[in-house]
Symmetry: C2
């Protein structure tokens, strides 16, 4: 399964076989069952996860106990709680598998070492974070500017692969609307 990651990385950065090998050696591959968690709230997030196969969501419970999907992840996406990972604070988020999945894992320690020793890998990660920020900003704009129906259509268009992998009520929670409202939005679009 490491080949998936290798291929992903090679299409994005110029990196030597030796360097790839370092990255591989520092990693662990893990198969994850459906509904299994990579992170529970209240824990510190100490790993970087690369999704080689499958599907995940990062979500959070509000004080009423309702969960809200902050983001999804599929093949070739990363999953982690940046905030907890960077600060060492207890995470408020959960990461759970929405399907049988495979992840490649780096501990914070080995990740930092890789970042320090492989400049190309460091640069790659910096760009990844910068992109993640840009994507968030786009999502914020969408949330403050567009009504539910438009946000749904935008989601469909932007993430068609995610759309057909995750249940609708989670998409509703990602869009910030109730599952019933999403259901009606979809009905009215026909």
């Amino acid at each position: 399964m490491f080949e998936v990651f290798e291929k992903y990385l090679r299409t994005l950065v110029d990196i030597s076989d030796e360097e790839i090998n370092c990255i591989r050696t520092a990693s662990t591959i893990k198969n994850i069952k459906k509904w299994q968690s990579l992170l529970h709230d209240g824990e510190v997030c100490k790993s970087m996860f690369f999704i080689a196969d499958g599907c995940f969501r990062l979500y959070r419970y509000d004080k009423e106990g309702t969960d809200h999907t902050v983001r999804f992840g599929i093949e070739n996406w990363w999953m982690t709680d940046q905030e907890s990972y960077n600060s060492g604070n207890l995470s408020k988020y959960n990461i759970e598998a929405l399907a049988k999945s495979t992840v490649i894992i780096w501990s914070k320690h080995s990740w930092d070492e890789l970042q320090a020793t492989i400049p190309a890998f460091k640069k790659f990660y910096e760009q990844l974070v910068a992109r993640a920020f840009e994507t968030s900003q786009q999502r914020i704009y969408s949330l403050i500017s567009s009504p539910a129906e438009e946000r749904y259509l935008e989601f469909l268009k932007t993430y068609p692969k995610i759309f057909n992998k995750v249940p609708l009520h989670m998409i509703a929670s990602y869009l910030g609307i109730s599952r019933e409202t999403l259901s009606r939005v979809r009905r009215d679009l026909l």
Copy 2:
């Protein structure tokens, strides 16, 4: 006015006088009138702006011509359109001064050079981007999980300094609600 920036930077990173000097030499200081723009949509964003004094907003027009405030910035904050700055694409955003302000400006070229030559400055900027991403994620959670009133209270608590510098209708646009709704939310809180 550069002292404001110097003080800000020194409290965050360990940096030599010589390095500070390099950063200063590469910068330009500019006074900005109220309502003046640092960036217009349709342009490429080619600068990093540090707000030494005053207040700004980054906003975007939707297809109806309504503007939506994506974020505010005051003293010791940064302003730029990351997406356009990094990619070189035309920006969809505008940055305007909400008060008489002073900014310190670095062109992309000199910024990149500073990043390449001063490791501490590079590290500082990486962390800045990482934080910005964490903050966005928090805001996304707030937008999908909390009703208008709670978001307003949260904003008040998180950004009290911004609150008493910007007009209410812009706060409404930041919260993703109409100015009338914000007005009523405030009335009902008394």
